[in-house]
């Protein structure tokens, strides 16, 4: 649907020839911008409707006093559907641990929620196809479950800031929403999110388009291909400080893949970008002592590096 339009606009209206640098770059830009914004609008809207059934208060009740393993698995899955914004990470964390959600289970949720999010999925699906998107969900869940179990095993409850355990948490009753309320919520959520991410998407796709049109084939194969054992850790190290903007990063990464970057490296980079970020670390410092914060980042980053190596080996 979008391909003929992009071809028509770029090659017929603008009169650029297919195969030329500018023609290919512009064609990629027009096609991907249309496709991605269409997918984003439709899917975010439906995900928002589903999410209106899973407010964090309900998730907390489900996870409270759950055992290891079972709890970690449920937490990772609930992380997909529970809305999460890094600005409410602190009340969320306190609410979880205060109501008896084990620390390791809380971390499984904290890893999965930002990493396995709908924007990352849509972008991966739109730019890499549904197989890669499914692999991303699957391995994202595994990383979240594993990291949570590891942190739970380390018994680091003492490294949560002391005030967290003394906090008085009230009980807010969950008001069930009506259908019109869910639709209004979904509409507001979709528009709000689109408004926030659209510049990143456009810039990301523009840079991706430039790379497609101008960077020589196999340019990256030597440095970021599967034969370079350092590519994965370097990609993760670069991904952590970047703020979780999957929307802007994925089109660039997709273009890099076309120039020879290995797919495991790509997945590892994506996960590092979304799961771990500097702003998140600063926010979590309010509830975690440094040692637990560093352990958390260390474990998740190592798990992501392993995922990268695994997929470079098998894909």
């Amino acid at each position: 649907m979008f391909k003929p339009f992009a071809d028509y606009l770029v090659f017929d209206i603008f009169g650029l020839s297919p195969g030329s640098h500018l023609g290919d770059a512009l064609n990629f830009f027009v096609y991907d911008t249309l496709k991605i914004f269409f997918l984003l609008t439709v899917i975010i809207f439906f995900v928002a409707i589903i999410r209106s059934w899973f407010p964090p208060e309900k998730t907390k009740r489900i996870l409270s006093h759950k055992r290891e393993y079972v709890g970690n698995v449920i937490a990772a899955f609930l992380g997909i559907v529970t809305p999460f914004c890094s600005c409410s990470a602190v009340p969320l964390f306190i609410g979880f641990v205060e109501s008896g959600v084990p620390l390791g289970v809380t971390f499984s949720f904290l890893v999965s929620s930002p990493m396995v999010n709908e924007v990352a999925l849509i972008m991966l699906w739109g730019m890499f196809g549904w197989k890669i998107a499914l692999i991303y969900i699957g391995t994202g869940l595994v990383v979240a479950i594993f990291s949570g179990i590891a942190i739970g095993r380390l018994k680091m409850e003492n490294y949560v800031q002391d005030y967290v355990w003394k906090m008085q948490v009230g009980n807010s009753e969950i008001v069930e929403q009506t259908w019109p309320e869910r639709l209004t919520y979904a509409k507001g959520y979709t528009l709000g999110l689109l408004k926030k991410i659209w510049p990143y998407v456009v810039i990301g796709i523009a840079i991706g388009g430039f790379i497609h049109g101008y960077v020589p084939q196999d340019f990256l194969a030597r440095w970021a291909g599967r034969d370079n054992p350092f590519a994965v850790p370097i990609a993760v190290a670069l991904g952590v400080p970047l703020y979780s903007n999957a929307a802007g990063v994925i089109p660039i990464v997709q273009a890099l893949t076309a120039k020879g970057m290995a797919i495991g490296t790509v997945l590892a980079f994506m996960m590092a970008v979304t799961a771990l970020s500097l702003p998140e670390a600063i926010i979590l410092k309010n509830v975690l002592k440094t040692r637990l914060l560093v352990t958390f980042f260390g474990i998740v980053a190592s798990a992501i590096v392993m995922v990268g190596y695994l997929f470079n080996a098998i894909l």
Partner: protein, 75 residues
């Protein structure tokens, strides 16, 4: 009537405060609007996603940015 806006100071919390102010103005009701930014007070209401809106000690909603019209309905 006392309206409290719970939130740790994110952009959405500020917009919600503005919307609540407009809602009070448009409805013509007498209400005091307070921003609540400290974590212990937010947690007392059991709110886990911000921003949230509290009217006379009762949590009306959390984790979303309500429009002026929606807030007027809650007053």
């Amino acid at each position: 009537m006392k309206i409290e806006i719970l939130g740790t100071g994110c952009a959405k919390c500020k917009t919600l405060y503005e919307n609540a102010r407009k809602a009070v103005e448009e409805s013509g009701k007498a209400a005091e609007i307070v921003k609540v930014e400290d974590i212990p007070s937010i947690m007392k209401y059991g709110v886990m996603s911000t921003p949230a809106l509290v009217v006379d000690g009762q949590v009306k909603f959390s984790g979303k940015l309500a429009s002026v019209a929606e807030i007027i309905n809650m007053l």
